[in-house]
Amino acid sequence: MRHLLDFQGWTRGQVENILDTARVMAEVLERPVKKVPALQGFTVATVFFEPSTRTRISFELAARRMSADVVSFATQASSLQKGESYKDTLLTLEAMGIDAYIIRADSAGVPHQAARWVKGVVVNGGDGRRAHPTQALLDTYTLLEALGTLEGRKIAIVGDILHSRVARSNVELLPLLGAEVWVAGPPTLLPQSLPGARLTPHLDEALAEADAVMVLRLQKERMEAGLIHLQDYIAHYQVTEERLSKAKPHALLLHPGPMNRDIELEGTLADSERSLVNRQVHNGVAVRMAVLYHLLVGREG
């Protein structure tokens, strides 16, 4: 694969290769000196047209741990409308000799557009509602770490599915590894369909016998748009210890962060033994190292 835009066209083997490399990278990160020369001489640019400190830091750490040079470009899409275009920004960076671009934008498709304009490698750092492939890879990595296999495992994704790139990427990726994916949310926040997932407006149906539950962040703008009433959401979709009794006994809990405690999930759950939230963040660096490594030097035939 030349770029990581989404998982269209990816095979299980390619995904497993990346996850295998991520395990090697995770070992590197356990060493006292957490650095390898794998990407020495390469330059990675994080190009964020939408602000996101966590994702940017995770990518930058990943690149630096492999000795790449890192530059960051951050701006608001709104200021782009008046000034320089996405294309001009990227071509400017290209002229400086960038090898890989990590692109984040609030509109679906910007990394796809970028891949047509630049010669370097494009990694989707999250584009609108479309995709967040490294998040799905780190979720998968974390689930495999805890469950051993995803074959036949039931994973429930809960919340604002319609607007979620995390949901879309996980729905693309998890079934590739044999998981059964359910998505649940209020009808105003559900798509009409998502290939690879079962949809339901009933949380209990998604949670029943689930091996893991991925809770999504509920954004304030959904309430402001009048799409959902907060109290109604909390009453019917908040993931609680009680509701989790429908799931498998030690069902795991994931959240891509940042969390709204006591809105989409019962506040104390995030700190319980079920919670993999900190593992997700931790594994993010190793997974992103693996992605950069594969795209820049470890190209498969």
Binding site: L80, A105, A108, H112, Q113, D127, S193
Partner: protein, 426 residues
């Protein structure tokens, strides 16, 4: 005097010939030859009446960076158009008789296609207060429309239909319910869900057409003269069914379809290329099939381009921010000649009618048939195939969703009242 020898004639009456068409004094003088200073060999070519586009955004005044009268009307004659209706959503909007006159005067001086500047239905296209229908008609406006925006206020639309009816002016509507389409940038449905793009549902068009037809019913009941509602760029199967039903019930409604809604589907958005971002959005094959049926049976009266030029930089923004619109004046006929007539057997006679008498009827203009004495606004078409090359467009929008498509039926000579306004003959 110009003589086109051995040319096949095609108009709304059908295909005939070959004939030797003698043109002079702005008219067709003879179909059986005669003396002429210039003689063209029309063997293998088609001669048709000059086309009329009911719906082009020529962007003047105020948005000349996208298009202006000179580039837009040159694009028009290169596309075989003798007449063009320009949309009034300019900066400022064309909403006064003076603005209509100024555009006509400037266009006349260019000597390309004839310009018919549509005027706004409401002042500033704000949907609040009506413009001067009578004075606008006298200044040369062919129809009234707030296109570029939607008519959210049904009461103002009703008043506009009533007022325009006294002067025989059609009222053209961009029929989409703005509150239902919200921020939709492509057709709503499984593909939009999959791509993570906000969807604009087919029901937004159907709901608005249904409402507007009821508004028309009201205007018909209230007006001593026949109001005329024209539905622009109809894009859905359901919208078509509503117009069909209304026509059967005798309501004075007409409708147009665009080249892009007839040849492209939402699948194009898989590329995430804003080139394909247009309102109403590209739909599905099922909708295309319904539109083709509508064109054949007459539910759709005309093909109109909705030529909507933007700058390259604007169309290279992201899908949420790039402006809506596809430029098509220079490819509309070859595109449909190839994709509908050659590939799908759509009757040529009807296709030509949809570019000529169909739109002319909507404006109350006399039909042009290729007979002795007919107005010599004509287009000569070459069936020879060549690819679409946007970099050679006269339009300032030198990009196209059909770039590289190999098409036949290209205009090689366009005449307006006997005057050569475009030629690309060897």
């Amino acid at each position: 005097m110009l003589l086109i020898k051995n040319v096949t004639l095609v108009d709304a009456l059908g295909e005939r010939g070959p004939a030797d068409v003698l043109i002079g004094e702005g008219r067709i003088l003879s179909l059986s030859g005669g003396e002429a200073e210039r003689i063209l060999d029309g063997k293998g070519l088609l001669l048709a009446p000059g086309f009329l586009d009911l719906h082009a955004h020529l962007r003047e005044p105020g948005q000349e960076v996208k298009e202006d009268l000179a580039s837009g009307l040159l694009a028009a004659v290169r596309g075989g158009y003798a007449d063009v209706v320009s949309m009034p959503n300019t900066t400022p909007p064309v909403d006064t008789p003076e603005a209509v006159r100024a555009l006509r005067k400037k266009a006349q001086a260019l000597g390309l296609a004839r310009l018919h500047p549509a005027a706004a239905l409401t002042q500033g296209q704000e949907g609040k207060a009506l413009t001067e229908a009578g004075l606008l008609k006298e200044a040369g406006a062919p129809l009234l429309t707030d296109d570029g925006r939607t008519n959210e206020d049904a009461g103002i639309l009703a008043a506009g239909l009533l007022q325009a009816s006294a002067f025989g002016l059609p009222v053209a509507v961009h029929a989409e319910d703005a509150s239902l389409r919200r921020g939709g940038v492509m057709n709503d449905g499984p593909l939009a869900d999959f791509l993570g793009l906000p969807g604009n549902p087919r029901e937004a068009e159907a709901a608005r057409i249904a409402r507007d037809l009821e508004v028309l019913r009201y205007a018909v009941r209230r007006s001593p003269k026949r109001p005329h509602l024209h539905i622009q760029h109809l894009s859905t199967k359901r919208g078509l069914e509503l117009v069909r039903e209304a026509k059967r019930a005798g309501l004075p409604v007409t409708a147009e379809a665009t080249p892009h809604h007839l040849t492209l589907t939402e699948e194009a958005l898989r590329s995430f290329d804003p080139l394909f971002k247009v309102a109403p959005p590209l739909r599905t094959q099922e909708d295309i099939e319904a539109l083709l049926e509508g064109l054949l049976e007459g539910t759709l009266d005309a093909i109109a381009t909705d030529h909507a030029p933007h700058t390259q930089a604007e169309k290279e923004m992201d899908l949420l921010r790039a402006p809506f619109g596809i430029p098509s004046l220079e490819v509309a006929f070859p595109l449909l000649y190839t994709e509908l007539h050659l590939k799908r057997g759509f009757p040529l006679k009807r296709l030509v009618e949809l570019f000529t008498d169909g739109p002319r009827n909507i404006l109350g203009l006399k039909p042009i048939h290729l007979e002795e004495g007919a107005e010599a606004s004509l287009v000569l078409l070459d069936p020879k195939e060549r690819p679409v090359e946007p970099r050679n467009f006269a339009s300032k929008a030198r990009f196209s969703p059909w770039a590289g498509w190999v098409l036949g039926g290209w205009p090689v000579l366009t005449l307006v009242e006997g005057r050569v306004v475009y030629q690309a003959l060897e």
